[in-house]
Symmetry: C2
Subunit: 199 residues, 2 copies
DNA sequence: CAAATGACCAAATTGTTATTTTAGTCATTT
DNA sequence: AAATGACTAAAATAACAATTTGGTCATTTG
């Protein structure tokens, strides 16, 4: 029953954090949803922050797992990118947690929400960077600074999804993929048409 | 002396808004700096907001002027882009106003600062879009949706300057230009190496 | 007498104190 | 030995007082 209790707590907390954000989620509430005494939570997690981090870690693992599964496949690099992109766009609607956190950051400025989002972003960038580096080693990509590459890739994705939606109607998935290809892949793929001798 | 008074007020206000932001700038302070009675300000501007908008408009005009001068020149499109980019990077350090406003938005969340930045961004996007459209009409660019193009262009610029600096040391100007070329120009220029027949 | 002015006021902002909520503890129960 | 919920100190919120500020207008000035 003990392991089950831990799961109950995590589930309840995950639900509540995603629904109400970090600040508005109280330990009493989590205990109630988990049908557990409040003290019980503290036998598994030292404090609210640690409980939250556990859940955040799970989200990060889930994201990495999806990408890992895809990149293990035997496919050309650009195809993998597309497929991961696809899944990310699909997954997007599922990470209510990240959504809620960024809303909370905007509205209330909760430092914990800020930290969490930074960590998520940082993990994502590190992951992308490693992937690009290994693709570069395999010769699938033109040489370049993977730190800048991964940053551009992330920013472009972010621009086409989150940022665009702030001022326009959302772009449909095909347009996003097409634009992503046009601006990112062309600049990065090793098709090397000719090296800009026009300048 | 009347026209001179107006200028005095605008100069004082511009200085103060850029230095302290919208909220922290008081009408009394502007009057003092401008060496003018507070009531005098209200013979030229209906209220604080209108005075602020006048100054914002001037910044927008100045930006447009710089770009217009450049794009009137007889040069290939991509060169113009680079030169404007150069000037923008140079100018950037000079628009303390925009800088201060975005800081104010982050720190205090002043709605006026938010509005102002949105307007600045919107003007910029409209301008870029028009420029891209006309370059496209002249056949200097490959066909494409200029709304998305201008958005990407702006976001990429923003990413390489503002956003990058949030997590790393600033990129030097040459790296910015190079990256900008690699990811934006390659995807957009009508040099058409060959149309991605690899897929 | 028209333009400029600064004392003045209502409204908004800030500072302060009272009240409530909440994270975390621990003596008691299961 | 694990689970619990009443309890407490600290933090968040609400209520209220004091101050600041945008905007007005009767008076002054050139």
């Amino acid at each position: 029953m003990s392991l089950d209790r831990r799961k109950q707590i995590i589930d309840a907390a995950a639900k509540s954090f995603a629904l109400f954000g970090y600040k508005a989620t109280t330990m009493d509430q989590i205990a109630k949803i988990a049908q557990v005494g409040k003290g019980t939570i503290y036998t598994f997690f030292a404090n609210k922050e640690e409980l939250f981090n556990e859940i955040l870690q799970q989200v990060i693992f889930e994201m990495k797992h999806i990408a890992d599964r895809e990149s293990a496949e035997q496919r050309p690099f650009h195809e993998k990118v597309f497929r991961i992109l696809d899944q990310a766009l699909e997954f997007r609607s599922r990470h209510e947690l990240a959504m809620k956190l960024s809303q909370e950051l905007r509205d209330v400025g909760t430092p914990m929400a800020n930290e969490a989002l930074n960590r998520l972003e940082s993990e994502l960038l590190t992951y992308i960077e490693a992937q690009l580096q290994s693709a570069m080693d395999r010769g699938e990509l033109a040489q370049g600074d993977p730190r800048i590459m991964s940053f551009i890739m992330y920013q472009l994705y972010r621009s086409l999804t989150t940022e665009w939606n702030k001022i326009h109607d959302p772009l449909d998935k095909d347009t996003i993929k097409e634009t992503f290809y046009k601006y990112f892949m062309k600049g990065i793929l090793r098709v090397t048409p000719y090296e800009s001798k026009d300048e």
